[in-house]
C-alpha cells in the first residue's frame, strides 16, 4: 500500500499537475467528489468531469469516459467503486494520462498495478484535495498535521 502513497510522488503531482479528469464527479454538492472538484477549480486546476450520467458539473462539460476527453490529462482522479478501477486504469493508460489518483477508500491493487505498469504515477487511498491543502493550501489553519517542518521563508 505504501508503495502508492509515496510522499515525493504526491508532491510532484500536486505541484506539477494542471488538468485533472475526475472520474465519478457527482453533481451533488454534498458528495466528496464535488467537494474535491470545487476545491481544485478554486485553486487553479482545470477540472474535466467524467461521468456517463451527467452533462454539466461545476460549469464544465462532462464526458462519458476518459477516451472521450479531447485534451491531455495530467491526473485521472477516481471516485468509483474499487471494482470499476481496473477498467479506468486501462483507459488512463490508453489516453496517455500522467497519473492515476485513487481517492480515500478507492482501493484497487489491480488497478494501481495496471496504471503503474503503463508508466503512470499512482497514488491510492489518498485525497487530492487534502494533499493539496496539506502542501500548498490552508489545511494547517484547521489544526491538521501537514507534516511541513520549515524554519525558512521559502
Amino acid at each position: 500500500m505504501n508503495e502508492f502513497q509515496d510522499r515525493r510522488t504526491i508532491q510532484e503531482i500536486v505541484h506539477n499537475a494542471r488538468t485533472v479528469a475526475i472520474v465519478g464527479l457527482s453533481a451533488s454538492e454534498l458528495r466528496a467528489s464535488n467537494f474535491v472538484g470545487y476545491y481544485l477549480q478554486r485553486h487553479g486546476y482545470r477540472v474535466i468531469p467524467v461521468n456517463p450520467n451527467e452533462e454539466e458539473v461545476l460549469g464544465e462539460r462532462v464526458y462519458p469516459s476518459l477516451r472521450d476527453v479531447p485534451e491531455q490529462i495530467d491526473v485521472v482522479d477516481v471516485f468509483r467503486d474499487p471494482a470499476a478501477v481496473p477498467e479506468v486504469a486501462r483507459e488512463a493508460v490508453d489516453v496517455g494520462a500522467g497519473a492515476l489518483w485513487l481517492q480515500f477508500g478507492v482501493i484497487s491493487p489491480e488497478g494501481a498495478r495496471i496504471a503503474h505498469e503503463g508508466g503512470l504515477a499512482v497514488v491510492m487511498d489518498r485525497c487530492l484535495k487534502v494533499e493539496h491543502a496539506r502542501l500548498l493550501g490552508r489545511m494547517h489553519w484547521m489544526g491538521f498535521d501537514t507534516g511541513v517542518i520549515a524554519g525558512s521563508r521559502r
Binding site: 510522499r7 508532491q11 454538492e29 478554486r42 477508500g105 490552508r138 489553519w141 489544526g143 491538521f144 521563508r153
Partner: protein, 435 residues
C-alpha cells in the same frame, strides 16, 4: 524535487511543527492572532468556508491561526492526523464524549481516574442518559468482561491520577476494536514525549494541556487528537457517518475521510459548545511544547529520586511510583514508558487524614496547589481536595486513601525538595519541625 522528504525527529518537531515563519512579516515566533473574526476575500469564498468546501478562517470560536499552530504541533507529536483544542482538558473530554455518544449508549471507563473526570462522567451519564461501566484496568480481563455490544467507547488514562496505574494500551485497544468502539486515552501524565498511545492502537487522545504541555502552570487548556485510523462508517456511529442536519445532509466521514471526526468535532461540537481556546493561551502552549522533552527528562529524574527517597522513610506506608522496580506496573512502564513514567505520583502517610494535614502545613518550598505538571513542585492531599466530591467507594476505586498525598515533582534541585519533604514527614509523625 530529487530529495525524499525528511522524517524529522521529536525534538525538531516539538520546536517547528505547526508553525512556519510568518509569510507576510517574517516573524519567527507564532503571531498571536487576537481577533474574533476574519474578513472574507469575496462572497464566493465566504460561502465555501461556511459549506466546509474550502479551509478558511471564519470566526475564532471555531478556528484561529494561533490555536491551529498549537493543534497541529500537538497532533504531529502524538502521531495523529489532527487535533482540536479546547478551553480546558475537561472541555475536550466533554466534547469528544458528546460527539461519540447517543442516549442509551454505554462507555467503559477505568475506575482509576482523575476525580474531575469521574465527576464529569457521572454528570454526563445523568444528563445524556448514557451508562458508564467502570473497569478495573489492572485486571487483565477487566475490559473484556465489561464491554457489551452497546459499548461505544473505552476510556482510560495512560498513567492514572493519582494512583499511578499504567494502562495496557494494546490490550484495551484490542478489546475496543473487537466491539467496534474507539479507545480514548487521556495522555496528560505521559505527554507525547514519554508515550504515544496512538502508536499502540489507541484511536483518540485527550489532553489537559494545562499540565506538562503548558509546563509552567500558566494556562488552562485541553485538546483532542485523532489517529484517523478508526472506521466511523462501521455502522455504530451514525452521527459521524450519516448525513448531518447541521450541514445540509453532509456526511462527515465520507466527505472528509480520515479527517471526518475532527471536522465534525470542530464545526459542530466546538462551534456549539463554545469552549474555545484563546489565541494567547495557544501561544503559551506552543512555547511549552518547544521545551517539552528537556523538561520531561528532568521531571522524570527528579520524581524517581524523590520516590526512591520516600520509600522506607519512617511514617511512609506506601509509595506508588509506577517506575519503582517493585511496582506492579513496572513491566507496563518498561513497555509503554521506557523514557520514564512522568513526575506525578502518590504516597501514603501512616498518620492518615490528620497526618496529611500536618505534612502539608509543614512544607515551605512545595506549593499546596490543585494542579500538576508545573516547573514548580506541587503537593496536595486528594481526600480533602481534588477527590473530595467522591464517595468513599469511589475514593478507594481511584486509589486514594485518607493519608494519600499526591506529589507533582518540578524542576528544582532534588536536595532542596528532599529537605522540605523531611520537614513534612517529621511533622506528620508528630515530631517538632526543625527550623
Amino acid at each position: 524535487m530529487d530529495e525524499a522528504p525528511r522524517e524529522f525527529g521529536f525534538n525538531t518537531r516539538s520546536v517547528h511543527a505547526g508553525q512556519r515563519p510568518d509569510p507576510y512579516t517574517g516573524a519567527s515566533a507564532t503571531p498571536i492572532y487576537q481577533t474574533a473574526g476574519f474578513v472574507f476575500e469575496d462572497t464566493e469564498s465566504a460561502s465555501a468556508y461556511f459549506n466546509l468546501q474550502e479551509y478558511g478562517n471564519v470566526y475564532s470560536r471555531i478556528m484561529n491561526p494561533t490555536v491551529a499552530a498549537f493543534e497541529e504541533r500537538l497532533a504531529n507529536l502524538e502521531g495523529g492526523v489532527g487535533a482540536v483544542a479546547f478551553a480546558s482538558g475537561l472541555a475536550a473530554q466533554a466534547a469528544i464524549f458528546f460527539a461519540l455518544l447517543e442516549p442509551g449508549d454505554r462507555i467503559a471507563v477505568a475506575k482509576a481516574l482523575y476525580g474531575g473526570s469521574t465527576a464529569q462522567l457521572n454528570h454526563l451519564a445523568r444528563k445524556l442518559q448514557i451508562t458508564v461501566d467502570w473497569v478495573d484496568m489492572d485486571d487483565p480481563d477487566g475490559w473484556r468482561s465489561t464491554v457489551t455490544p452497546e459499548t461505544k467507547a473505552l476510556f482510560a488514562e495512560t498513567i492514572a491520577n493519582p494512583g499511578g496505574n499504567v494502562l495496557d494500551i494494546e490490550l484495551a485497544a484490542a478489546v475496543a476494536h473487537e466491539v467496534g468502539a474507539p479507545l480514548v486515552v487521556d495522555n496528560t501524565f505521559a505527554t507525547p514525549y514519554l508515550c504515544r498511545p496512538l502508536e499502540w492502537g489507541a484511536d483518540l487522545i485527550v489532553h489537559s494541556a494545562t499540565k506538562f504541555i503548558a509546563g509552567n502552570g500558566t494556562t488552562i487548556a485541553g485538546a483532542v487528537v485523532d489517529s484517523g485510523a478508526f472506521d466511523w462508517s462501521n455502522g455504530r456511529f451514525p452521527s459521524i457517518a450519516e448525513p448531518s442536519t447541521a450541514y445540509h445532509g453532509l456526511k462527515f466521514h465520507e466527505t472528509f475521510g480520515v479527517y471526518g471526526l475532527l471536522m465534525k468535532l470542530r464545526s459542530e461540537t466546538l462551534r456549539d459548545f463554545g469552549a474555545v481556546l484563546a489565541p494567547f493561551n495557544a501561544f503559551l502552549l506552543l512555547l511549552g511544547l518547544e521545551s517539552l522533552s528537556v523538561r520531561m527528562d528532568r521531571h522524570v529524574a527528579n520524581a524517581l529520586a524523590v520516590a526512591e527517597w520516600l520509600r522506607g522513610r519512617p511514617g511512609v506506608s506506601a509509595v506508588r511510583h509506577p517506575a519503582l522496580l517493585d511496582s506492579p506496573y513496572r513491566p507496563l512502564v518498561d513497555r509503554y514508558l521506557p523514557a520514564g513514567a512522568g513526575s506525578v505520583f502518590s504516597f501514603d502517610l501512616e498518620s492518615g487524614r490528620e497526618g496529611g494535614r500536618r505534612f502539608i502545613e509543614a512544607l515551605s518550598l512545595w506549593s499546596h496547589l490543585a494542579n500538576v505538571g508545573d516547573t514548580k513542585s506541587l503537593v496536595i492531599h486528594p481526600a480533602s481536595t481534588t477527590h473530595r466530591q467522591l464517595s468513599d467507594d469511589e475514593l478507594a476505586a481511584s486509589g486514594v486513601a485518607p493519608g494519600t498525598v499526591r506529589l507533582s515533582v518540578g524542576l528544582e534541585d532534588v536536595d532542596d525538595l528532599l529537605w522540605d519533604l523531611e520537614r513534612g514527614l517529621q511533622a506528620a509523625r508528630g515530631s517538632a519541625v526543625p527550623a
